[in-house]
Symmetry: C2
Subunit: 192 residues, 2 copies
């Protein structure tokens, strides 16, 4: 029970920040919505920024965990898992409480590259790309790091289009593009 209250705070803060934004959410709002006294919050976290970093860490673990688990469920071979990422993304985009990428938003609101929040957000992209590279390597694809970066680019583009564009299924469009990328890579063509 010792640190469960703290974890509960981080969990609820993550949801609230994701739904309402970081700067737009005041600490008083957090107190009411999370049902935790302000005194307790500041006993666990020195500043609001520290709390935001903690929520980003939780979100990073959750999102990467969910995504790669789902990829493994949807496909058996490493190659097919890379493609299945876009099916998983399509599921995510279809959820009623999808509100875009929390990390992109964090970067938007805290632009300074040296800011801890910005660092944590960009770290998520790097970690995700590294995991993709590992799978691409297991799939026997050439230049797995390049493949991973391109798939990351497609993923980020799909997220933005799902958030801002009004088009139908950006994840499935990205999937079609990804198929082309893998096809070329498997044909031995060196990525330009």
């Amino acid at each position: 029970m010792a640190r469960s209250k703290r974890d509960e705070l981080i969990q609820k803060a993550t949801d609230i920040f994701y739904r309402r934004g970081f700067q737009a959410t005041g600490m008083d709002t957090l107190v009411v919505e999370a049902g935790i006294s302000k005194t307790s919050i500041y006993k666990h976290f020195k500043t609001k920024d520290d709390l935001i970093v903690a929520t980003l860490r939780l979100r990073d673990e959750f999102l990467r965990g969910w995504l790669f688990r789902r990829m493994a469920e949807l496909a058996s071979t490493p190659r097919d898992q890379l493609i299945a990422m876009f099916d998983a993304l399509d599921e995510w985009f279809s959820e009623p409480d999808f509100h875009g990428c929390m990390f992109a938003k964090a970067c938007s609101e805290f632009q300074d590259p040296d800011h801890p929040i910005n660092r944590e957000a960009t770290a998520h992209v790097a970690r995700l790309s590294a995991q993709l590279a590992e799978i691409a390597d297991r799939a026997g694809l050439p230049n797995p790091n390049d493949i991973a970066r391109r798939l990351s680019l497609l993923k980020e583009g799909a997220v933005v289009m799902a958030t801002m564009g009004h088009d139908s299924r950006p994840a499935l469009e990205a999937k079609a593009i990804a198929l082309g990328i893998l096809r070329e890579a498997e044909a031995g063509r060196t990525p330009v």
Copy 2:
């Protein structure tokens, strides 16, 4: 001289909002940095939100104007212009004061889809995609709207990777992917 002061305000506000963010920039900051009295600002715009919408409109015109002009300068045929978009993006990303996409940031900070700021930001994406579709049509490509959406997805992905990823040249990676897309389209293969 009548409306030049107003235009000057919008121009400077655009720069400031782009550099520092919308919510993070207070009206008092705007007064100091833009060198315009608060009274004047509120004589031209009823609210801060109205001013933000005006800056987004200016930015939309400027960015689309610059991008398509640069595409026309870099290539002569419609087909090559589509590809040249990514060379133009590469130039943009290389500018020292590149700070990501102002419209993505606007959507991040104002998430409500019914909010005028959100609408204006998403409209930019739609307008850009429509212009791309027109060029794809002139290039004689099949399903120009699909092509345009995919190129838009690549463009947005490249912007995000340029902002958040630490990789080398996301615009040129997107360009390589775009070449593959056009190659497939020209081979008559129906986009999946």
